[in-house]
């Protein structure tokens, strides 16, 4: 049963029967000890309601978490994000006091801060396209921007 543990032969043929069985047993252990939490499963099922067929999706084009060079001692700097959909750009800063942003080209707009399939917080962009929302998202969030012409929705991110 155990004579082929470390002889190093049979490589390249993929796992043997015993390894396959062990993997299957481990799979069952994972299903028992570390399954997808039911609430999360439900949340992903419910997420289908988040689909917005009208909105153009603005992709993340800058994330200070990834794209900025970390500066020692500047850990408290707010995270800065840029989303782009065609000619529309949305700059967002996640500060401790809330969310600050600007729509470019500048235009008045209504902005929803989404955190899931629940009702959202709304902010209004002024003539310069600037807006603030008194919420600091934690976890998944997206912004939906309604201008006079169209709806743009940012890619979902984890704050």
């Amino acid at each position: 049963m155990s004579d082929d543990i470390s002889d190093g032969t049979g490589l390249g043929d993929g796992p043997g029967v015993e390894e396959e069985l062990l993997e299957e047993e481990l799979r069952q252990a994972a299903s028992l000890l570390d399954p997808v939490p039911p609430a999360l499963l439900q949340s992903a099922v419910d997420a289908f309601a988040l689909r917005d067929l009208e909105a153009r999706v603005a992709g993340l084009t800058f994330d200070s978490l990834v794209d900025a060079i970390p500066v020692r001692g500047a850990a408290a700097a707010p995270r800065m994000l840029t989303f782009t959909a065609g000619e529309v750009t949305l700059d967002v800063e996640l500060t401790e006091d809330g969310l600050i942003g600007q729509v470019l080209p500048p235009a008045p707009a209504r902005i929803e801060v989404l955190t899931g399939p629940r009702p959202s917080t709304t902010a209004t962009a002024d003539d310069m396209g600037r807006f603030t929302a008194p919420v600091t998202p934690s976890g998944p969030f997206a912004l939906r921007l309604h201008t006079t012409d169209e709806t743009v929705m940012t890619e979902w991110l984890r704050a």
């Binding site: 049963m1 155990s2 543990i5 470390s6 490589l11 390249g12 043929d13 993929g14 796992p15 043997g16 015993e18 390894e19 062990l22 993997e23 047993e25 481990l26 799979r27 069952q28 252990a29 994972a30 299903s31 028992l32 000890l33 570390d34 399954p35 997808v36 939490p37 999360l40 499963l41 949340s43 992903a44 099922v45 997420a47 289908f48 988040l50 689909r51 067929l53 999706v57 994330d63 978490l65 990834v66 970390p70 020692r72 850990a75 899931g116 934690s138 976890g139 998944p140 997206a142 929705m153 890619e155 979902w156 991110l157 984890r158």
Partner: protein, 212 residues
């Protein structure tokens, strides 16, 4: 612990399909139905590929809170990706890859917030075993409980690369090698040999403890 490359071409170019409640060949059709607004198809996708996403998240050792947020973010983003998807049958690879990227971002964020290089601090391993252990106390599971616990413990103690690879491979239904490749950013051709080696290691550990 690093795992060397074992010379092998056995898994190159071999489409690796394994059975499961949702056959991977069905994923493309389910995605197309979901695009057309079929909520039941969406649910089937979540049930079929959710365990893969969860496995990728777990493979990256996030805290429970971070793991939950990443899992949700991945699915929320998939609702946006759905209508632009070019290869519906590769939805699993997209989900796995998106999950990996989000996990890496969490690590990056943690590093900045902590302002420390102490790996102990970064390794915010969840104590996910605790609540589930109660499950093992239930009557039907009690007999197998001890063995399952020992198996899981031996698995958790494997080297990081083996633990990661196996955690993704043991998603249920089992992922394709393309999905595993997307989940861990490793070449499809190296998965088979690594998988074999890691399982042998796990078995050796169990045997050393007389648990086989």
């Amino acid at each position: 612990m690093m795992i060397g490359t074992i010379p092998s071409a056995a898994y190159h170019d071999v489409p690796y399909t394994r059975g499961g409640t949702v056959e991977r060949s069905e994923v493309g059709a389910l995605v197309r139905s979901a695009v057309d607004g079929d909520a039941a198809a969406w649910k089937a996708i979540v049930e079929g590929l959710g365990p893969l996403v969860w496995s990728v998240v777990r493979a990256h050792r996030l805290s429970d809170a971070d793991a939950h947020e990443v899992y949700q973010t991945v699915w929320f983003r998939f609702t946006q990706h759905l209508d632009r998807i070019r290869e519906p049958e590769k939805a699993g690879s997209w989900l796995a890859s998106t999950a990996r990227h989000e996990c890496l971002k969490v690590h990056r964020q943690a590093r900045r917030l902590l302002l420390t290089d102490d790996p102990q601090m970064l390794d915010t391993v969840s104590e996910g075993g605790e609540p589930e252990q109660a499950l093992l106390e239930t009557e039907e599971a009690a007999a197998q409980g001890e063995r399952v616990r020992r198996l899981w413990q031996a698995f958790e103690e494997l080297g990081e690369r083996c633990r990661q690879l196996l955690r993704v491979l043991i998603a249920s239904p089992p992922p394709s090698y393309q999905e595993v490749s997307a989940a861990l950013d490793i070449a499809v051709g190296s998965i088979g040999p690594m998988r074999q080696r890691c399982l042998r290691r796990l078995r050796a550990r169990l045997e050393a403890r007389g648990t086989v």
